[in-house]
């Protein structure tokens, strides 16, 4: 009897202890410190084995809903099975002899650009940003122009670029293009100091976009990777012609622009944006794009980007915008090619 009593007492004591501890364990003062809030980290994008993308020509205008425009663009691009995007942002000069560059209301601010970038990164795209000199006031193509006073021009250009480079660093943009299609002064000694200045605020990859006819040697200071905006005149059959063009490029080169007008004779001058015609032929774009893309894959280029869609302006080919290709045979060709690689 005594043993049973003791056992019962022990069990009761144990129950009281467990119940007491359970009750006490919920006392707020006894709770351990809350682990620090996790920082919001971004998943870094991996350099795709081959960059398959579209270029956004990032002209904006006052009052534009950049977020909405970016959302539309990125949705369209991802719908093409792209894994990458180049976002160009325009800057301006007042005249060919001007020693300074500047932004206008058509230039997205770094904050606006960051909105587009964030959408692209959210969609898992590899992101490249690049400045693009609007040659409207140059009276010639930027590929044929060079600054009269390079020292002053580069100083102004650096001042313009640094806030964008800082944004690129803050937003973990993988690649930043320091110059686009400046064929006439690609070997200027001022590129190296510019690269160094940018490198101080941006730790990602710096690049320089050559125009298709330019030599590929030590452009833009020599410490950056080089890409090519590819507008070579080619004759059918296009696939071997593109393959021959691609094989002449350094291994792993990325074609940062491939585009053509939806005009029957455009193969002869794909760099020409507008032709005097009243009839459009989207099949030209489809054939051009399809072969360019297939050739890029066959020759193991680093990637290919198709020029272009506007910011919030995803254009079909029209007489006013003959280079537009969205929602047409050109877009289908791009999608079919990209889908071979990106599921």
């Amino acid at each position: 009897m005594k043993t049973i009593y003791r056992v019962c007492l022990a069990v009761a004591a144990l129950a009281v202890i467990v119940a007491g501890c359970t009750g006490a364990s919920h006392i707020k003062a006894l709770q351990p410190a809350t682990p620090p809030q996790a920082p919001l980290l971004r998943v870094p994008a991996v350099l795709p084995a081959v960059q398959l993308g579209v270029e956004i020509d990032g002209y904006t205008y006052p009052g534009q809903d950049v977020a909405k425009a970016a959302q539309q663009d990125i949705a369209y691009i991802t719908g093409l099975h792209a894994n990458s995007v180049v976002i160009s942002f325009p800057f301006f000069m007042d005249s060919p002899d001007s020693v300074s560059v500047h932004a206008t209301p058509a230039t997205p601010t770094p904050q606006q650009l960051a909105v587009i970038v964030a959408d692209a990164q959210n969609a898992g795209l590899y992101v490249v940003v690049r400045p693009l000199l609007d040659d409207g006031n140059l009276h010639t193509s930027r590929t044929l122009w060079s600054p009269a006073n390079q020292g002053a021009w580069f100083a102004s250009y650096r001042t313009f670029l640094l806030p964008y480079a800082a944004m690129a660093q803050a937003d973990h943009i993988q690649e930043f293009v320091v110059g686009t299609e400046f064929s006439r002064f690609a070997r200027s000694r001022y590129w190296a100091p510019l690269d160094a200045a940018l490198s101080r605020v941006y730790s990602g990859t710096l690049a320089f976009a050559n125009n298709w006819g330019s030599a590929f040697l030590e452009g833009a200071g020599g410490n950056v990777i080089e890409t090519v905006d590819a507008y070579p005149p080619l004759s059918p059959p296009l696939l071997p012609a593109w393959e021959a063009f691609d094989r002449a490029l350094p291994a792993g080169t990325v074609e940062t622009e491939v585009g053509i007008a939806a005009v029957s004779s455009a193969y002869r001058a794909p760099y020409r944006p507008s032709w005097p015609t009243s009839v459009l032929d989207p099949a030209v774009q489809a054939t051009w794009f399809s072969n360019a893309c297939r050739a890029a894959l066959a020759t193991h280029l680093g990637g290919i980007y198709f020029w272009d869609i506007g910011l919030g302006k995803i254009s079909r080919p029209t007489l006013a915008d003959q280079g537009g290709w969205a929602y047409s045979a050109g877009a289908q060709a791009i999608e079919q090619c990209f889908a071979q690689v990106v599921p």
């Binding site: 202890i17 467990v18 501890c21 359970t22 006490a24 364990s25 919920h26 006392i27 003062a29 006894l30 709770q31 351990p32 410190a33 682990p35 620090p36 809030q37 996790a38 920082p39 919001l40 980290l41 971004r42 998943v43 870094p44 994008a45 991996v46 949705a75 991802t78 719908g79 093409l80 099975h81 964030a118 990164q121 959210n122 969609a123 898992g124 889908a339 990106v342 599921p343």
Partner: protein, 557 residues
């Protein structure tokens, strides 16, 4: 002879009964005061810091073992590297965790340690009398390690309590064939199984039981009998438990090496450092134990008392001796607590010694006052150590972590239960526990051990398929372990997250880092926590910049 029986009034009888009850129970008041003080001192530590990786490990393992019990799923390898049988403490911890979270598990340790103190009082009372018992309890309760062990949600407290229970059983035995002797090896078995290192105290406990005999010959017979029973029970238990447990016992206890493993990654410590650390934590009990032996010899105390005191002195030093042998003080301050438990037996003896000799009440009171003063001083000194300890463990005085931990960070990256994660063995369980992530055990690999099933050879991550395990790819090998296993798994993009967060002594860490850097697709996510955390980026393309999931390429199918 006629005896006159005088009837007392009923009220007087009741008063006498109350007085008797009071007298019967008032002896508990000093012990109760000690226990309350110990509880307060211990519980104040509970809110300090986060659950350590060890605490998280035992709780998570307990949950996994319970889950395995009911649902199967293969046996984790915990028995091969735990320093106590995982089936004993961990399930209890898991149950407590389910009831009240980490605080309840820690409070369970507090209860274990309070019980250990109570057992100490009862043991010493049995051996040397009441006041030595009270003083020894007061001495032990005020030690920093007692409070640290009582606060930590690991198996130490339970093991120490069981060791104390075995010692109490030993002290309770009388001469001759006392049936309570049978309890000694059984309780020792539980204590040893809970924490393997407590086996070093088995000879002390058996020795205490032996000293309950008055004849030397009987002492020897009892010691031999108990030793044989204990060894036999342990042998049978190990045999039933199997090779994995034997491997775990060898790895963690018998053949333990400093810095040999992520779980035993303490840096080697020189002898003077080890001695100094012991002195800092439990110096007073060792000093008093030495003094007790001297006093007992000089005062010509009985041989059994001297034997007990010598055994207690040995016990109070054995952890330090083992640390000197291993050249590391890893976990020593916790293990020292069970040493201090035995040291406090001798401490109580010597502090209460004048009281035993004195025939005058005022001298007894003076002795108690002196003993009390020593104990209060001890509390004042050693009671502050735990806060120092927690500061040294990575928490500043405001209870803020001194370095950025990964806690709260990895959760978004480790929620997919179909992926594998390679996390640093020093904090993997802590991360999962804090982030409340529940993964099948075989999805979590640490930098200590990997058993990579070579593709196409029939192996599996759960180890259900039996096959040869090799350290390099050879014909007939089903699994790869060691550096080759890590390299092969990383090259195959097996791990979605790889986190080597701290400077480790392990040779596998540089191998892992090199393999990651050579494998396309892995990107450095962060250096939080003082190391490197990579993810295999293609696995996380669906993450947006704010850590939320978005449906990417929904349009693209």
């Amino acid at each position: 002879m006629a005896t006159a029986v005088v009837e007392r009034p009923a009220t007087a009888r009741a008063s006498l009964a109350r007085t008797s009850a009071w007298y019967r129970h008032r002896e508990w008041l000093p012990v109760l005061a000690v226990l309350v003080a110990q509880a307060v001192y211990t519980i104040r530590l509970i809110p300090l810091g986060f659950a350590s990786d060890d605490e998280a490990r035992y709780i998570i393992v307990g949950h996994q073992l319970i889950n395995e019990l009911f649902h199967g799923g293969g046996s984790p390898f915990y028995d091969t590297y735990f320093s106590g049988a995982p089936v004993i403490y961990s399930p209890l911890a898991a149950v407590a965790d389910s009831l009240g979270g980490i605080v309840e598990v820690q409070m369970a340790s507090t209860v274990f340690m309070l019980t250990a103190t109570l057992l100490l009082y009862l043991t010493v009372k049995r051996l040397f009398g009441y006041w030595p018992g009270v003083l020894s309890a007061g001495l032990f309760a005020g030690l920093g390690p007692t409070q640290v062990v009582g606060r930590n949600a690991i198996y130490d407290a339970m093991a120490f309590m069981l060791t104390g229970a075995a010692a109490y059983c030993a002290a309770r035995t009388d001469e001759g064939g006392d049936r309570r002797l049978l309890l000694v090896p059984v309780v020792l078995l539980f204590a040893n199984a809970t924490k393997y290192m407590t086996v070093v105290f088995d000879p002390v406990v058996i020795g205490i039981a032996a000293t309950r005999e008055t004849m030397v010959r009987e002492m020897v017979r009892r010691a031999i009998a108990l030793a044989m029973m204990t060894v036999a029970l342990l042998g049978v238990a190990v045999f039933i438990a199997g090779d994995a447990y034997l491997k775990g016992i060898e790895f963690t206890t018998l053949a333990r090496q400093a810095g040999a493993n992520v779980l035993l990654a303490a840096e080697p410590t020189n002898a003077s450092g080890i001695v100094a650390e012991t002195w800092d934590w439990i110096g007073i009990t060792i000093a008093l134990a030495v003094l007790a032996v001297i006093v007992a010899v000089i005062s010509r105390a009985g041989a059994p008392d001297v034997c007990v005191l010598v055994l207690c002195l040995f016990a109070s030093l054995v952890v330090t001796i083992e640390a000197l042998h291993l050249h590391t003080s890893e976990s020593m301050h916790r293990h020292d607590d069970v040493a201090a438990w035995f040291g406090s037996i001798a401490g109580g003896y010597v502090l209460g010694f004048p009281c035993r000799l004195s025939r005058r009440d005022w001298m007894a009171v003076a002795d108690m006052a002196l003993g009390g003063l020593i104990i209060v001083t001890s509390w004042a000194h050693y009671g502050q150590l735990p806060s120092t300890y927690y500061q040294a463990s990575g928490y500043d005085t405001d209870n803020k972590p001194q370095q950025d931990p990964l806690y709260g960070f990895l959760r978004p990256y480790v929620t997919d239960t179909k992926r594998f994660y390679l996390l640093d063995g020093l904090d993997d369980f802590g991360l999962l526990y804090h982030d409340q992530v529940s993964l099948p055990w075989y999805r979590l690999i640490d930098d200590n051990y990997v058993k990579y099933p070579i593709p196409g050879r029939g192996g599996d991550w759960q180890g259900l398929a039996q096959g040869k395990t090799c350290t390099s790819i050879k014909p007939g090998c089903m699994y790869l372990e060691g550096s080759a296993g890590y390299q092969a798994a990383i090259y195959a993009h097996v791990f979605a997250v790889i986190s080597v967060t701290r400077t480790s002594l392990l040779s596998t860490d540089p191998v892992i880092e090199q393999a990651v850097e050579r494998t396309p697709g892995y990107v450095l996510l962060t250096t939080l926590g003082g190391g490197h955390t990579w993810i295999y980026a293609p696995d996380y393309e669906h993450f947006n910049t704010k850590g939320q999931q978005v449906k990417v390429r929904a349009e693209a199918g």
